[in-house]
Amino acid sequence: MLELIVNGEVHRFDGDPDMPLLWALREDLKLTGTKFGCGIGACGACTVQVDGVAVRSCVLPVGRLVGKSVTTIEALSKRGDHALQRAWGEANVPQCGYCQSGQLMSAAALLAVNPNPTDEDIDSAMAGNICRCGTYQRIRQAIHMAAAQMALAMPEEVGP
């Protein structure tokens, strides 16, 4: 029995501590916004944040999460209005949409540490997230849009 903190709530998990977080989220907690794509941490569809850092939940054993805080796409914002989510909509980023939860969680982790990323910063932070629809150009554009929006909203927090 272990305690999992997911989206601010404590959940008791009495399954196998070796089980990857992805399946605990999808099957036990019914948080299906986090997607299965490859099972080896190579596509990014399963990306969530653990203590604010983007991680691949398909290869992360639940047992390693004791005392850590997991955030999934369902809690990126309360009303789906994180600057990135709004930018994703404005830039018409999603196509099939299946990879976009993971894309957004990676992008949010990037902006949290780098509020004004260059194209190269974006490419290196997002290269682990595959999109077969090829929405990459608009992902880049939307991250820039969101960064600009966040800078406007919180001018005092903008770095040099």
């Binding site: 099957e27 997607k35 018409n92 595959i130 090829g134």
Partner: protein
């Protein structure tokens, strides 16, 4: 060529026989409209208006990224004169009114949705508008011509207004009009102007439901361990270790392998790793990429020996090839089936709900109308989700388990089992007279796509009682008439006397339609060879192309535009350009690739793309889809392929089956030229020209002609 049941029957020569003709003429009985809301006006299967004024549209096409949900809503919004955001949508079930007229099935494929829906869906909405206005005219005792519908209200010229819902009751009693008047293009508010995407909100907060998200009480999760070698079967297996693994409920053999059932995916997968299976080997498919290549060469040699040789003074020859490609949809294949006494429920991301329904019904011995296929978003399709394999597996396993079952394919299952875009080899010859092609010959060695498609969708097209010999005759006939593989060879250029043919050979590797089908390789071959011919003739590659395109043709217009837009010939030092043109599904596309050499290889810096899509419903979504086509085509041009060794696929997951990532994606500039008054299909329009545009640029940079995909220096 239309891929209809009639085509197959005709091509097999059985359409005149009483046996099959009788079947063909069977009419679907009256089927109730889907998702009927009590009290609502529902004059057709598409649309309902409730007394409260809700407008509910059935989305009968699969939304798999191409934006058809938004497109269909936009068509309805235009005819009902309401904002698209005010229309509710539901994924439709199966209904005869939803058949794709190009394919005789309820199928979302071949860029056909907007081509085939543009008028019928507007007509369905116009019928609703006509009925509501007639009911309002009757209620108010005025002429219909004096009434107007706007943003959910009916108004007359004298200040009277009422919500449309008030007229639903009366409208439902009026006869459905046989002919309706569509809104003229000059009055459009949304078509061609509306640029939002309506399913974005659900796709950025995790709430969009895909087939794999089906949450069915009591469902077990199953994985299927399949033979790693094509054509192999289970000889024997030992499940004792797997059965003892945590969470395992059952292990048994099914037709396609060994099913492992557990309380969740991870337990099922872990147990599957402990399974010991001995597989038979089918010697007929003892293939590797090398043996396939050798056999294709041999067959092309044989064909060449039969062909009368080109004997002119100026003859150019070249051989090209392209490898197997999996679709690798981001959502792995999956299906959930729940079986009750008199009903079966199926949740499966798919491109053809009636193929799913018929296949599940047949394997369970049920009637099709007992099977409900629940709609959902699909995490990519690209031609792969036409096939019912996962749904059949889930049905068979659920029946045996006596509980609902969700089958999930691993990524390894997906990459290794296909079906794939075929590996093909092509030989071209051209006889030139100065700077003009006098005649050319094209010989493609390929398996038939129809012949491999038909067994997969047999349950939908043919009755269970159709004898095997008759089915085989149909398949043989379909293969004989299969021109799908040659699409993209003669659609664009006029190259004198043209002699295009295929040498069919099936190496025993399952193949299928794959985004842009024949164009995906033929356009690479033809457009590279055009470049070769221009170079051979000492001509400018643009002038050579223009000379072989009809003056004033859409292809020549997009070519001229892309040359101008890409500032052809004025690149900065070290950057080289290549060009290619393709015409597919009524759309015409030209691209210029900017390439620079780096290290031992090259980098694609920019793709400039001009598309004439006829007309567009949602301009920005059209551009999104075109960008998608380019990344898809560039992935196959630069990094992705599946190779065969020892009768098995070598690659297995995204670490060794490479797809383009964000850091490898060039800048894309998309331009649309609307030349008509009906939309073409854009879902595949820009896939094919990418590879030849890049290869032609690499040739200009290096003098080296790359004749095989993926392109490697």
């Amino acid at each position: 060529v239309k891929l209809t049941r009639r085509t197959f029957l005709a091509s097999a020569g059985v359409i005149g026989s009483g046996l099959v003709l009788g079947f063909y003429l069977l009419r679907e009985e009256e089927v109730p409209y889907p998702h009927k809301i009590p009290e609502a006006l529902q004059p057709n299967a598409f649309l309902q208006v409730t007394p409260e004024g809700r407008i509910v549209l059935q989305i009968h096409k699969t939304e798999m990224g191409q934006g058809i949900l938004t497109g269909l809503v936009t068509l309805v919004a235009e005819e009902l004169n309401v904002p698209p955001q005010s229309i509710e949508t539901q994924f439709a079930g199966v209904h005869p009114e939803f058949l794709n007229p190009e394919f005789d099935m309820q199928i979302t494929n071949a860029s056909s949705s907007m081509i085939t829906c543009y008028l019928p869906v507007r007509e369905a909405a116009a019928a609703v508008r006509t009925l509501l206005l007639q009911a309002a005219a009757e209620t108010w005792g005025v002429g219909v011509a004096s009434l107007h519908m706007l943003d959910g209200l009916v108004t007359d010229g004298e200040g009277r207004r009422a919500p449309i819902g008030e007229f639903v009751g009366l409208a439902a009693t009026l006869p459905v009009p046989e002919k309706v008047t569509l809104k003229p293009r000059s009055e459009f508010r949304f078509i061609g102007q509306f640029e939002e995407r309506l399913d974005s909100a659900a796709k950025v907060d995790g709430s969009a439901v895909y087939g794999i998200d089906a949450n069915v009480p009591q469902a077990l999760t199953a994985v299927v361990v399949r033979c790693p070698h094509f054509g192999g079967r289970v000889e024997s297996f030992d499940a004792s270790a797997a059965r003892q693994a945590p969470g395992v409920v059952d292990v048994f053999e099914i037709e396609r392998g060994i099913a492992v059932l557990a309380d969740g995916y991870w337990h099922a997968r872990r147990a599957a790793d402990r399974l010991e299976v001995k597989w038979t080997a089918d010697q007929a498919t003892q293939q590797s990429s090398a043996t396939i290549d050798r056999e294709q060469t041999r067959l092309l040699d044989m064909r060449e020996a039969e062909d009368e040789p080109f004997s002119g003074e100026d003859v150019l020859r070249a051989e090209y090839m392209a490898p197997f490609q999996p679709h690798a949809c981001m959502e792995p294949m999956n299906a959930t089936v729940a079986i009750a006494d008199d009903s079966v429920d199926v949740w499966v991301s798919n491109q053809a709900p009636d193929i799913m329904r018929a296949s599940v019904a047949q394997v369970l011995g049920r009637r099709a109308d007992q099977v409900t296929v629940h709609g959902s978003f699909a995490g990519g399709g690209f031609g792969r989700r036409v096939y019912p394999f996962a749904a059949i597996e889930a049905a068979v396993i659920a029946e045996r388990a006596g509980r609902p079952v969700k089958v999930i394919w691993s990524r390894e299952d997906d990459i290794r089992n296909g079906p794939f875009r075929p590996a093909v080899k092509c030989r071209m010859q051209a006889e030139l007279g100065g700077k003009t092609v006098k005649r050319w010959r094209y010989r493609l060695c390929t398996p038939s796509l129809w012949a491999t498609l038909l067994p997969g969708i047999r349950a939908r097209l043919f009755p269970a009682w159709l004898p095997q010999f008759a089915f085989e005759r149909i398949v043989a006939g379909a293969a004989r008439d299969d021109t799908e593989n040659l699409e993209g060879t003669t659609d664009t250029y006029r190259l004198g006397e043209s002699d295009v043919d295929q040498v069919q050979w099936d190496p025993g590797i399952p193949v299928s339609m794959w985004r842009s089908v024949g164009h995906s390789f033929n356009s690479f071959f033809v457009e590279s060879f055009i470049d070769e011919m221009a170079h051979h003739a000492g001509d400018d590659v643009i002038e050579f192309r223009r000379r072989h395109l009809e003056p004033g043709s859409r292809a020549r217009i997009v070519l001229d535009r892309v040359v101008k837009t890409a500032d052809w010939g004025n690149t900065r030092p070290g950057v080289f350009q290549g060009v290619a043109v393709d015409a597919i599904k009524g759309a015409v596309c030209a691209q210029v690739a900017d390439v620079r050499l780096e290290g031992d290889g090259f980098v694609v810096e920019r793709i400039v793309c001009v598309v004439d899509p006829g007309m567009v419903v949602n301009p920005d979504i059209a551009k999104c889809v075109i960008e998608s086509c380019i990344v898809w085509g560039l992935t196959a041009a630069l990094v992705s392929q599946v190779t065969i060794d020892n009768r098995a696929v070598v690659q297995s997951n995204f670490h060794d089956f490479r797809v383009l990532r964000i850091n490898e994606t060039p800048r894309m500039e998309i331009h649309l030229i609307e030349s008509g008054d009906h939309p073409a299909g854009v879902g595949e329009c820009a896939v094919a020209p990418v590879a030849p545009a890049v290869a032609n640029a690499v040739f200009r940079a290096t003098g080296k002609r790359l004749r095989s995909l993926p392109l490697r220096l």
